[in-house]
């Protein structure tokens, strides 16, 4: 009911808006033009509808939590892909020319969507979508309780309902002056869990997730002095009222009897956020040779936070009892951001175009909080202890500035061959400034901040070749540096290459593609450690290689038969030098070790879909998906400082479906889906205590039956 309450006002508002549009449009008349236009058909509205309602059964064997985390289908009634297309006649009082309503997945599906697009030419265009996601996540290999020898679940599980929607209305869409209105909402609610640190231990706590945002947009677009111009103002309201609760004794992750425990705990986040933004854009084509367009966005995001913790429990080591531990943290943050973009394309000749694109992005995040903590303690024999008080304030400023310029030229040599070349330069500056103050002692810790800037250069080239009219090859390459490696800060040397081929021959269509990406991020480590275990400054790299080969074929020899099959192989190898602290029981005392972090993907994906209509009343569909990731293969860790992981897994998803045409308007469907998932168990051989993430295998049988009901002139065409 809570959820219903949350979404109903929104739906009501949307319906009201639609009704208003309908009334407005019905009263609006059009003046026919004497121009030589295409005469539209007159007459009654045309309705093409296909609605499928049915029921699904479900049997899951194996790991239900993994099944729910992956798929989360349930047994019960559901709405399959359904659509209604209404095309109105030429009545002067029509509310719309066409309305397309699509819905899918409501009922027992984990995701449901409802989309409605309607318009009346010359008057309005309305696009809307409302979606629902039933999100579940509880995995044994993600944030497990580290003290358990065999993981039984995640300490960060979630079981939430997420509703989100968008409504956009454009008034006079074909005119030189257009108005745009929009509204969106986001709503997430449901139980979950998180971990809370208290006196040196971690505790899994229940949480009640509750976030909501509402977005409003209004703008105007049009032509002025030959320019296409537009301004849009937007506002977002965000609130987060997530709570964490411990209502009974919680011993924490550390099982030792002398460690901290929680008796009760509550944490309430009250976050109120607001975003205000303005967007201005322009575009003009001048003398048919120069296309110029630009955009300027200014946004200001603020958040006001009030966190309050109330905890009681026991301290580690001393065994003192915490009778009252109150934490209050008010915080305020602000992020003004400016983005500017300018693009120009000059048609130098009928075959040559030169473009330049400049972008600029700048923001500053300034945030501050005041942290106040009070703890009253008694000894385990009941003697009052001296209470402790902590009061600090923190201030952070995060600055970012980036600009980039891309100059490119493309040449249309002839209809069969075109190529392009380009050069991109990027410069950015990142700075962090830190100041902390102890409000009791007055001591100030001011780091003075860090600042870093870098520049990158990239060259791009591409070509399109059309050897024959039904075969096209696309290829592009990029060589240079990218700055999207914040963490290592050196520029990322990359070489990316992509080629695609699309060809058709008779009833066959062939697609082939190959993609390679090579990224090298060189760096030098800083000296760490001392004495014989010291690691001097050493050259260190982060290297990622990706190879993707993909192809598919479609064969449609007749309207009553089609086949589509494809295969994609993805090979990803990431090798990153790392320096880790390794201590007891392997080294004592702890020492730094130079190791490597490796990740592998060797994934094969194969699919086929077959459709056949052996008889005018019977249609058959069969589909199959196979995913097999061999991961790291036989590579094993031989040193504690190495991390070698992958996700070896296999899944099979066959499906068959039979449709029997009962009447001109009704089909009866009978289908069956099977999901088989298996993965390799994972363990860390150099971990203490040894922990095992067991294989989370499952199989799921999902039979279903449904009726698809057709209306409209196309109903009999199937």
């Amino acid at each position: 009911m809570k959820i219903t309450n949350g979404i109903m006002p929104t739906v009501s508002r949307a319906l009201l808006m639609i009704a208003a549009v309908g009334v407005f449009s019905a009263a609006y008349g059009q003046t026919p033009s004497s121009s030589p236009g295409v005469q539209t058909n007159t007459g009654e509205p045309t309705i093409n509808t296909s609605v499928e309602l049915g029921v699904r059964g479900l049997e899951v064997n194996g790991d239900h939590e993994k099944f729910r985390s992956d798929l989360n289908y349930r047994a019960g009634f559901r709405l399959f892909d359904s659509s209604i297309l209404i095309e109105e006649g030429r009545s002067q009082f029509r509310a719309f020319d066409s309305a397309l309503i699509q819905a899918s997945g409501w009922g027992s599906d984990p995701t449901g969507s409802f989309r409605m697009n309607m318009d009346r030419i010359g008057l309005y265009k309305f696009d809307s979508s409302v979606r629902r996601v039933r999100y579940f996540n509880n995995l044994k290999d993600h944030v497990p309780t580290w003290s358990q020898p065999v993981s039984t679940g995640s300490q960060h599980y979630a079981n939430t309902l997420h509703h989100f929607g968008d409504f956009d209305l454009t008034i006079f869409p074909e005119r030189d002056l257009r108005f745009r209105l929009g509204y969106g909402f986001n709503d997430t609610k449901g139980p979950g869990s998180n971990t809370l640190r208290f006196r040196g231990d971690e505790f899994q706590v229940d949480s009640e997730i509750d976030t909501r945002s509402d977005d409003f947009r209004a703008g105007v677009e049009g032509k002025l002095l030959g320019f296409n111009l537009g301004v849009l103002y937007g506002h977002r309201m965000f609130k987060d009222g997530t709570q964490f609760i411990v209502s009974s004794l919680n011993p924490g992750n550390n099982p030792a009897p002398t460690t901290a425990s929680l008796n009760t705990a509550s944490r309430i986040y009250q976050t109120r956020g607001a975003t205000n933004f303005g967007n201005f854009f322009f575009q003009r084509t001048i003398l048919d040779r120069l296309d110029i367009g630009g955009r300027l966005i200014y946004s200001e995001v603020t958040s006001e936070v009030s966190e309050r913790d109330v905890l009681t429990g026991r301290l580690s080591a001393t065994g003192n009892i915490v009778t009252q531990n109150d934490i209050v943290v008010p915080a305020f943050n602000k992020r003004p951001q400016t983005r500017g973009d300018l693009g120009m394309t000059v048609r130098a000749t009928s075959k040559v175009r030169i473009s330049n694109t400049f972008t600029f992005d700048q923001f500053n995040i300034s945030g501050s909080n005041t942290y106040f903590e009070f703890a009253a303690l008694i000894s385990n024999t009941g003697t009052p202890q001296t209470p402790t008080t902590t009061s600090t304030s923190s201030w952070r400023q995060f600055g970012y500035k980036r600009y980039s310029n891309l100059l490119e030229a493309d040449f249309q040599v002839n209809r069969a061959f075109a190529f392009n070349v380009g050069y991109r330069y990027t410069h950015r500056n990142v700075g962090v400034f830190v100041s902390d103050r102890n409000l009791i002692s007055g001591a100030i810790t001011d780091s003075g901040g860090e600042e870093h800037e870098n520049s990158t250069n990239s060259f791009i080239a591409g070509a399109k070749v059309k050897p024959v009219s039904n075969w096209t090859i696309y290829a592009d390459v990029e060589r240079g540096q990218s700055d999207n490696v914040f963490t290592r800060l050196a520029n990322n040397d990359n070489f990316n290459f992509r080629v695609r081929s699309r060809a058709s021959a008779g009833s066959f269509t062939f697609n082939l593609s190959a993609i390679t990406k090579d990224n090298d991020n060189p760096g030098t480590s800083v000296p760490v450690g001392s004495g014989s275990t010291a690691i001097p400054a050493t050259e260190a790299i982060a290297n990622t290689k990706t190879r993707i080969f993909s192809g598919d074929v479609e064969w449609s020899p007749s309207p009553s038969f089609s086949l589509n099959a494809g295969y994609t192989y993805t090979d990803l190898t990431s090798n990153v030098d790392v320096i880790l602290p390794i201590g007891t029981p392997i080294f004592s005392p702890t020492r730094w070790q130079f190791g490597s972090s490796e990740f592998y993907m060797r994934d094969s994906f194969f699919f086929f879909d077959v459709f056949a209509q052996p008889h005018k009343r019977i249609s058959l569909y069969a589909g199959y998906r196979f995913n097999d990731d061999q991961g790291q293969g036989d590579r094993v860790i031989s040193r504690p400082q190495d991390l070698i992981t992958s996700y070896p897994m296999r899944s099979h998803n066959p499906e068959v479906k039979l449709a029997i045409r009962l009447t001109r308007n009704i089909d009866w469907n009978l289908g069956y889906q099977y999901n088989s998932y298996s993965e390799d168990p994972f363990t860390s051989p150099f971990s203490t205590p040894a922990i095992l993430f067991p294989a989370q295998n499952y199989t799921a049988h999902m039979p279903y039956t449904s009726l698809r009901i057709f209306f409209g002139p196309k109903a009999g065409d199937r």
Partner: protein
């Protein structure tokens, strides 16, 4: 006055100035044109309606099927709008004046035939009307343009065929079994949004079949929810949301911040620094199976600037210190703890 205040002031002045000019000036039309065989042909907008034009009814005499099809589309209804009065509408608004074509008994060289145009020239025709919308403004500088993917590769200007009903998987779908089989598509698309995109981007279809994925192939999302296929200023043609934020923030609202203690990569590199949005076998669509592996590849002491190495007590032979987010729960940003503990 700070830079931001100056910018705000400029925006307000710009907005007000535009309004004032608007009030005191009339609407100004532009001349649009397309290239056919290297020759510039004026086709629409303020082009004079002269005796070179024969009208759509004349076209229908030979091209009846196309005429009937386009009649039901917006393209076929523009003549009903008072705002288009005096402009060329109908077949000749795209194909150019038809008199020579008619008088030469259908000589295809005497009319603009899109089959004979390269994709850029064909797109120029569409852009002569559609360029003014913000989403389309960067098409001439986008990835698809660069790779010669024109408007008509995805859109059917005469209106797409209403697809014949065909069975398809109700969970996952292949290229031939249209996602919304038997259903019409908006924006005159030739097929539904994900199907159209993955018909070229075949490797993405494989990614959307991983255990953890955004539910695009299931129909809950579209590729165009995050990407602008018409080009844009962002990498990978991604969209912005809520002003200048990443597309992800539109739905993942609690990651928008701002926070007192920002986790730098989130805002600077974006969510894809740690996540693979199309799909992954790793939990939470992370780039690595183990969270610590992801963290340690940055916080490793290789450099100290902006990404400090882990402290020495994070003994990596202890399972406790291999589960980073057990303690660092607020890894997307925190308002109360500089190490993201809460």
């Amino acid at each position: 006055m700070s830079n931001h205040k100056i910018l705000k002031l400029c925006l307000v002045v710009l907005f007000l100035g535009a309004g004032v000019i608007w009030l005191f000036t009339g609407s100004v039309t532009t001349t649009a044109s397309i290239i056919a065989g290297g020759e510039l042909v004026t086709a629409t907008d303020s082009a004079p309606f002269d005796d070179r034009y024969v009208g759509s009814d004349t076209c229908a005499a030979c091209h009846d099927a196309q005429f009937k099809k386009v009649a039901g589309t917006k393209h076929g209804k523009l003549h009903t709008l008072s705002s288009w009065k005096g402009k060329v509408v109908g077949c000749e608004s795209c194909h150019g004046p038809g008199k020579d074509h008619v008088e030469s008994s259908g000589d295809v060289t005497k009319i603009i035939s899109f089959k004979r145009l390269d994709s850029k020239a064909a797109s120029e025709s569409c852009l002569s009307c559609h360029a003014g919308k913000e989403a389309h403004n960067n098409f001439r500088r986008g990835e698809h343009w660069r790779n010669n993917i024109g408007c008509t590769e995805c859109h059917a200007a005469h209106g797409p065929d209403l697809p014949k009903f065909e069975l398809g998987s109700s969970i996952r779908v292949g290229g031939s079994s249209a996602q919304n089989s038997g259903q019409a598509e908006k924006a005159m698309l030739r097929a539904s949004d994900p199907q159209l995109c993955v018909s070229c981007h075949t490797e993405v279809k494989a990614q959307f079949n991983k255990p953890f994925r955004h539910r695009v192939m299931e129909g809950t999302m579209n590729c165009s929810d995050c990407h602008n296929p018409h080009g844009g200023f962002e990498s990978k043609q991604t969209k912005l949301s809520v002003g200048a934020d990443a597309a992800c923030v539109k739905c993942h609202t609690n990651k928008q911040g701002p926070f007192v203690f920002e986790h730098g990569p989130l805002k600077i590199e974006g969510c894809t620094a740690c996540h693979t949005p199309h799909g992954s076998a790793n939990p939470k669509m992370l780039k690595r199976r183990q969270v610590r592996q992801l963290c340690l590849e940055c916080h490793t002491g290789i450099t100290e600037e902006l990404s400090p190495g882990v402290p020495s007590f994070h003994n990596q032979s202890q399972v406790r210190y291999q589960q980073c987010t057990v303690c660092h729960t607020a890894i997307h940003g925190s308002n109360s703890h500089k190490a993201f503990f809460r």
